[in-house]
Symmetry: none
Amino acid sequence: MASKPGNDKELRILRAAISVFARHGYHGSSISTIAEEAGIATGTIYLYFRKKEELIIALFQRFLGDYIREAKEEVLAVHGAPARLGKLIERHLRFFEADHEVAAVFQIHLREVNPQIRDGILPVLLDYFDLIDTILIEGKEAGEIAPDIDVRLARKLIFGGLDEIVTSWVLSRHKYELMSMRDGFHQMITRAVGARWSGFRARASGGD
Amino acid sequence: MASKPGNDKELRILRAAISVFARHGYHGSSISTIAEEAGIATGTIYLYFRKKEELIIALFQRFLGDYIREAKEEVLAVHGAPARLGKLIERHLRFFEADHEVAAVFQIHLREVNPQIRDGILPVLLDYFDLIDTILIEGKEAGEIAPDIDVRLARKLIFGGLDEIVTSWVLSRHKYELMSMRDGFHQMITRAVGARWSGFRARASGGD
Amino acid sequence: MASKPGNDKELRILRAAISVFARHGYHGSSISTIAEEAGIATGTIYLYFRKKEELIIALFQRFLGDYIREAKEEVLAVHGAPARLGKLIERHLRFFEADHEVAAVFQIHLREVNPQIRDGILPVLLDYFDLIDTILIEGKEAGEIAPDIDVRLARKLIFGGLDEIVTSWVLSRHKYELMSMRDGFHQMITRAVGARWSGFRARASGGD
Amino acid sequence: MASKPGNDKELRILRAAISVFARHGYHGSSISTIAEEAGIATGTIYLYFRKKEELIIALFQRFLGDYIREAKEEVLAVHGAPARLGKLIERHLRFFEADHEVAAVFQIHLREVNPQIRDGILPVLLDYFDLIDTILIEGKEAGEIAPDIDVRLARKLIFGGLDEIVTSWVLSRHKYELMSMRDGFHQMITRAVGARWSGFRARASGGD
DNA sequence: TATGAATGAGCCTTCATTCAT
DNA sequence: GATGAATGAAGGCTCATTCAT
């Protein structure tokens, strides 16, 4: 119930890894450097992670996993596909804008990755994809999204677009506020999927 | 007389690099392996590329550069933003579908790179971004694209969406035809940017 | 408790380096060979020396540095320039005669070095030059050395002569006893610098 | 009778080698770089020298050999050991002062050398040692040099002293005129070997 | 748990040398 | 003789991983 010292050290290692990866990239960072950054001995890392690859997987599960769980809860609490999409976009951009190191690591440095790592990462991402898919599917059912929309394709547009926006922002060295992209992007996405506010549409059409 | 032996060998090396990178990734591939794949001695590679990094940069410039030049010509030959976007999407998907190894390398394996490599790659990508921007800008001037569209943001949506589609397809191990995404994606993009066929708009504006 | 294992291993590496350099020269010796000679793994050398170049510099500082400190103390404990020169010559020859491998390395194998190495070595040598200069300067002040002697030039004669003697001896494969050169060389040097025993001079000046 | 083109090219290669060695050292210079400097193809060097090592040997034989032959003739044309020593010293210093690149190469860059090279170089040096020995032996016979002088030891003092003077001058980046060392050095050497001008002594002593 | 010295496989890169033209 | 592309062995150095303490 109190803080587990093991978990604490594990987190310290992960934070150190984020910081070192952000500066030198995954392949340019050594376990020793991460240990030094975490203020522990090199060997200690291996008490928490069996291989360097497991560090990345844990990074994804811990940082992205937490974000995705929160995002899912918050997004699904809202009603209506357009609002949900807006909330998703806002959370996505806010997550990365909140921590430049995390943004650099996930957008730039952990992209080339061997199959083993990918297998560890994929479930986390699939959760996120599921969330987007859910928004779209329920939106279609509610008539808020055009019926001819291919959900998986639309999800790729949404995720790919967000991903590209964040990546550009990182590469620009955060020259502008990431959040300033929110409304424009939301508008494009809602148009793309033919989204209509169901309440509004109901009132506007005067019937249904 | 016609064949330049130097160019021939350079191309052989690049093809071998693509093939080896596709299987083992950039950091997992050694120069010796690439040389072996190309059927030459290790040192020979250094007669054509001064560092391993230059190999990737050359890969981008050669393969993507050629594609982008062709795409630009072909896309701009078409008239009207919606048609141009359609052509762009078609060419993009066709390019990657044509060569699974090239797709794997560009979508998966060359994503984490050090700043030096990125500096060599960026100009090629910027050319592509320019092409998309041109379509959008000229489309706005022609009234084919909604005037409130932020060109750079829309470009990120288009590029990011395409990129994600290709990446998913590669990770799915080409389970479906990439080209089958074309029409659905084109439709979403045209909606997203509020694209109208100028001919249609002419009629519409005449009647409304 | 008393033995520092780190220092011990560092010394083992240096001894191994001396031995390997003596046989194959600096450029002809690989780090792996030195490690093998020291009975350790290749990478271990890099825990003690960051580059191959640092190995040589450490060699100089450790072996010559120690010798020079001892020589300085012992030489300056003696009084009178002629006796001091005698002591210097004796120590110099004794030092190299004591260890044929050290002699070979310093006289033959570490002569062509790049500027970086030279910068690391120079301070050690300058200490030695200082010692000789001190003998000469104090000798001049005491009237034991001819006043028209250029100290730096005389030092070059002394050091150059000693150096050549040792080099010849090494190249002759130690065919004769190095120490047998001592008296003849001492005599020539004292003549060269017009050295007079101050006691003698006292008598001489009293009578002449 | 006319210039042999083969010899001409051989000399061009040797000059190029001197120049490149002076800048990058022996081990830092590649055959290709020397070829480039000489304005010929890499392979061409191998038509004149079978191995890189032979280049050095030829360098010694050509440059030092020529100098030594001239020095021998000129020195022995003079009479009296003191004058001969003076001439030797003058020629030695003048030779190196005349060409900074040659000086750098012979004093600094060709010092660490494997046994094969040394075997090729030694004969050239032995010729020089012979010249010095001849001066001393004939000087002893003429009563111009102290009879207790060990000729080989004195030769080492002379050669070693000169060598050190030139090396210091090269390392100082030619901050002073090498020739300015001549008289001081000559004086010390004549004192060291107890040299007396036989003519002067004859006159001074009033007899023969 | 924690340490950090030690390991040794592996990789990029250089370059003397060869040889087909 | 001349060329210069090609060779491939060799070496410095890094770093993930282990293990005795």
